[in-house]
Amino acid sequence: MWRFIAHRVVYTALTLAAVSLVSFLIIQLPPGDFLTSLAGKMAEQGGDLDSASLAGLKARYGLDQPWYIQYWRWITGILLHGDFGQSFEWNKPVSELLWDRMGMTLLLSLVTLIVTWMLALPIGIYSAVRRYSLLDYVVTFLGFIGLAIPSFLLSLALMYILSRYAGMSVGGLFSPAYVNAPWSWAKLVDLAAHLWLPVLILSTSGTAALIRVMRANLIDELHKPYVQTARANGLGEMELLFKYPVRVALNPFVSTIGWVLPHLFSGAVIVSVVLSLPTAGPLLLSALLAQDMYLAGSFILILSALTVIGTLLSDLLLAWLDPRVRYQ
């Protein structure tokens, strides 16, 4: 087993190196750089950037260097002393920026994940066991409504209705009174009062897919003879359902659980933008639009690292859950 893991760690390092190079190049793909996007923003508001100060900023940000030197300096910065570089737009270290938003992003993603799985698994199981029943249709229908409505419309409409009729503050995760207040019980309650909206929107779209996959897999397993054997040994329906077929049906989930990790980190970009949530998603989007190189690059690097780790994790989980795989 340990040889297997060591083997994978080596691969992970290689993959990360390749990805960091690619992510750096992707950001270079669009024409121009951070300064042209800054000039673009300025032009939108009517001001302009004279070429002299442009040259000055170019030197300061090191954008006048060829891309491979920029890349080399960035990578060595990360590897040697954990410095992810400086964000041009924020003029703050990238690590500090990411760290500010990490708490909220993880909280939002984790709660959404839990809610999604708590919703999707029982519904998936029920609709597999009670196929073609009325409730199967109703429950599946609701699951899909969440998936079918584009999240940015749902977010805007719900935010509009809640702020208009339920007096909920617009955007953000806190009402104005608490946004800068130190953490207290009241602040937590206020957070909860705001958090449920994004979680609801995110989990509705998430559950539909899980329900479908769970239903498909469980139906396959329900007819297997070992279920009959269990019944013949006097196990109750619920007991044998969860002990045997559900356990086997979880196999496909496991092989994709690894990729939940990066999602936890980036969080839902679109819903966060519309609801103005202080999560990492909007930061990535604005960094990409502004071509804020080191911020966007580090973000993508961390995302890909989590993906690779996620894959390793899900391989291990797959082996744990399905012995047939382990005894290859």
């Binding site: 800054l38 032009a43 502004a290």
Partner: protein, 647 residues
């Protein structure tokens, strides 16, 4: 020499009248108020507790008296606003507009601010500013001429911090020389006459001086004054001390300086919670603010200003319609939003105030006469081609569709009611006349048409080109769709190309664009002077001739090209304008430039940009009913937010 003397005399007279409106009554009032200044209750408590010196000691010997728009206000209240994203300029515009000299609210001239008075020598090479005696920073440290010298010697002229002195502080390649006459007086000396200094000082670009002046605070971050600055650098995680101090001073293009709550300011409010993008930004009253109202109450009236950081403009509009914004126009100033705001006035508990765009045109169309494709270059440089295209546009229909009939056909020239307004320039070729359009296009010689009715260009192929348009400007995209149909009718194939604004600018820098639509700058007089890029090839963003514009800025730039005679003449006229001190002189030269623009017709205008609206709550007072809306005017700065009050 004589003409300039008379011009100088008139200028001084003009300027004094300008401040006279405020100055003369001001003189009488100050004498009476010397003793009994009043202050905000919250500060009175701190004075009683001994944490603050009494108000008379906090104010300069003669504080600036601000005449309220309607009435004397009362202290208290929180002014709620909203930002979008990471680099919103609203802080600079609302609580950051403190300058040596500032625009007057009606944008007709420049008035004293931190400088008690100012004067210029006859040929506009030396400007003298007298600072207010006893004026203090927000942390109580006195503000003297030495602070300005620190900015000049240790920030502007320090090659590491400012690699290149900005254009407006240079004459040719020689930077300005700033010298101290006495503790309260400084002088700006230029090698050659500089007529635009006061305008730049008053506009958004001028903020860098006072931002770089708190010497006592910035010395900590300056290697010359603090040898072990490296600890501070490591603590802040900055790459170098230069980057750290640049972040502290910031520049007018980015809100860096608003990410540091400790920075001493001369503004009405000082930051308590900085702009980090995840939490709300908060600013509270500056106890040492140097302005009072005619009854001697120290300004500002409003205690606290908050800015919610939003991710998307729609959330800002939603906040406004729910009454969550007390007074704001930024991000709400579009036609479509105007409709929504108008419909929710009762529910939001607010009124609308007009913000007049300073644009010369709602959407102007540039065909790049220095485009790299030789065929298109030959076609675009033909004046009749541009006239034909202009006549083919049905401006009334665009007005109906895009501006709900609130606008009128207009070319890209100064707005009516300004000194530079010219009836002929404004209305030439704006009538919708397909027959005349085809006649003009026939005059260009491209009369043959292909099977689909498109005219054949000099190379035997159909004349076809793309026009860049910002994806964010939905109205421009719609207008271009309509124009594509109008031009198809007269045989010209145009393909709109929606792209991100930063990419559009990148293409202009490299002179890659074939055509571009943009909002027309230079509608107001001063804006015309400060931002002439649509009247003659001034820089790369003059999209109708980017290569010529680049030439004007830097003839040696690889993308630069020698402009034709008419454009060269305009460039020379503008260079001379920069040296003219008197406004009359400048305006006269600008009229000559505009005459050539009218004759050559390089840019096609569509309709005037209709007025937009901001929201102001019913309990929020002293806000003018109309104000100009542009970054140069730093809306709403010049309307003295310190005298706004809530009751």
């Amino acid at each position: 020499m004589i003409s300039s003397q008379r011009a100088l005399g008139r200028a001084i007279l003009y300027l004094s009248i300008g401040c006279g409106v405020l100055g003369i009554p001001e003189l009488t009032m100050r004498a009476a108020l010397a003793a009994d200044y009043k202050e905000a209750p919250s500060l009175a408590k701190e004075v009683a507790a001994g944490k603050l010196p009494p108000v008379a000691e906090r104010l300069p010997t003669n504080p600036l008296v601000v005449k309220p728009v309607n009435s004397i206000g009362s202290y208290g209240g929180t002014w709620r606003q909203a930002l979008v994203g990471a680099s919103d300029g609203l802080l600079e515009r609302t609580i950051g507009y403190t300058r040596l000299v500032r625009w007057d609210p009606q944008w007709t001239g420049v008035v004293p601010d931190v400088a008690e008075s100012y004067s210029a020598n006859s040929d506009g090479t030396v400007y003298t500013f007298k600072l207010r005696k006893g004026i203090k920073w927000s942390d109580g440290t006195p503000f003297t001429a030495d602070d300005i010298l620190f900015w000049y010697n240790d920030i502007l002229m320090n090659k590491e911090i400012t690699p290149a002195v900005p254009r407006w502080l240079r004459s040719g390649n020689d930077p300005v020389v700033v010298s101290k006459v006495d503790d309260e007086t400084i002088q700006f000396s230029f090698k050659s006459p500089n007529g635009m200094l006061l305008y730049y000082l008053a506009s958004n670009i001028g903020s860098d001086i006072l931002a770089g002046s708190p010497a006592h605070y910035l010395k900590k971050f300056h290697k010359a004054y603090n040898p072990d600055v490296d600890q501070l650098v490591k603590a802040a995680g900055a790459p170098s001390w230069v980057a750290l101090i640049q972040a502290k001073v910031g520049n007018w293009q980015s809100p860096d300086r608003w990410r540091d709550a400790a920075r001493p300011v001369l503004d009405p409010w000082k930051l308590t919670v900085p702009y980090t993008g995840t939490t709300q930004v908060v600013a509270e009253r500056n106890p040492y603010y140097f302005k009072v109202d005619p009854e001697g109450n120290q300004l500002p009236y409003i205690d606290r200003v908050t800015y919610d950081v939003m991710g998307d403009v729609q959330s800002v509009i939603l906040k406004a319609t729910n009454g969550g914004l007390d007074m704001q126009a930024q991000r709400l100033n579009s036609l479509e939003t105007g409709m929504v705001l108008a419909a929710h006035r009762e529910q939001g508990g607010y009124k609308l105030f007009k913000v007049q765009p300073a644009w010369s045109n709602g959407m102007l169309i540039c065909l790049n006469q220095t485009v790299k494709n030789p065929v298109l270059r030959q076609v675009f440089q033909n004046k009749d081609f541009r006239i034909g295209l202009s006549l083919a546009i049905n401006r009334d229909e665009i007005n109906d569709i895009l501006y709900a009939g609130q606008s009128r056909p207009y070319q890209a020239v100064p707005r009516p009611g300004t000194a530079l307004y010219d009836e002929k320039l404004a209305t030439q070729y704006t009538q919708f006349d397909v027959k005349a359009a085809n006649a003009a296009l026939d005059r260009t010689g491209f009369t043959k048409r292909d099977d689909q009715g498109y005219r054949i260009g000099p190379d035997g192929k159909r004349i076809a080109f793309s026009i860049d348009v910002q994806t964010a400007r939905k109205d421009h995209i719609d207008a271009l769709e309509l124009i594509r149909k109008y031009w198809k009718a007269v045989g010209i194939d145009m393909q709109p190309k929606p792209i991100e604004s930063s990419f559009a600018v990148a293409r202009m820098l490299a002179n890659d664009q074939e055509g571009l639509v943009w909002i027309g700058g230079g509608g107001y007089d001063f804006l015309g002077l400060l931002d002439p890029k649509w009247y003659f090839p001034y820089e790369n963003q003059s999209a109708f001739g980017s290569a010529w514009g680049i030439y004007y800025q830097n003839p040696k730039d690889p993308n630069a090209e020698e402009p034709p005679a008419w454009a060269k003449k305009q460039q020379d006229l503008y260079t001379e304008l920069l040296k003219t001190v008197s406004d009359e002189g400048k305006l006269a030269l600008m009229r000559q430039i505009l005459a050539i623009t009218g004759e050559e017709f390089p840019v096609i205008g569509t309709d005037m940009d209709p007025d937009n609206y901001g929201v102001v709550k019913t309990n929020f007072h002293n806000v003018p009913d109309i104000m100009p809306d542009t970054a140069f005017y730093v809306t709403p700065g010049p309307t003295n937010p310190e005298q706004y009050f809530m009751k």
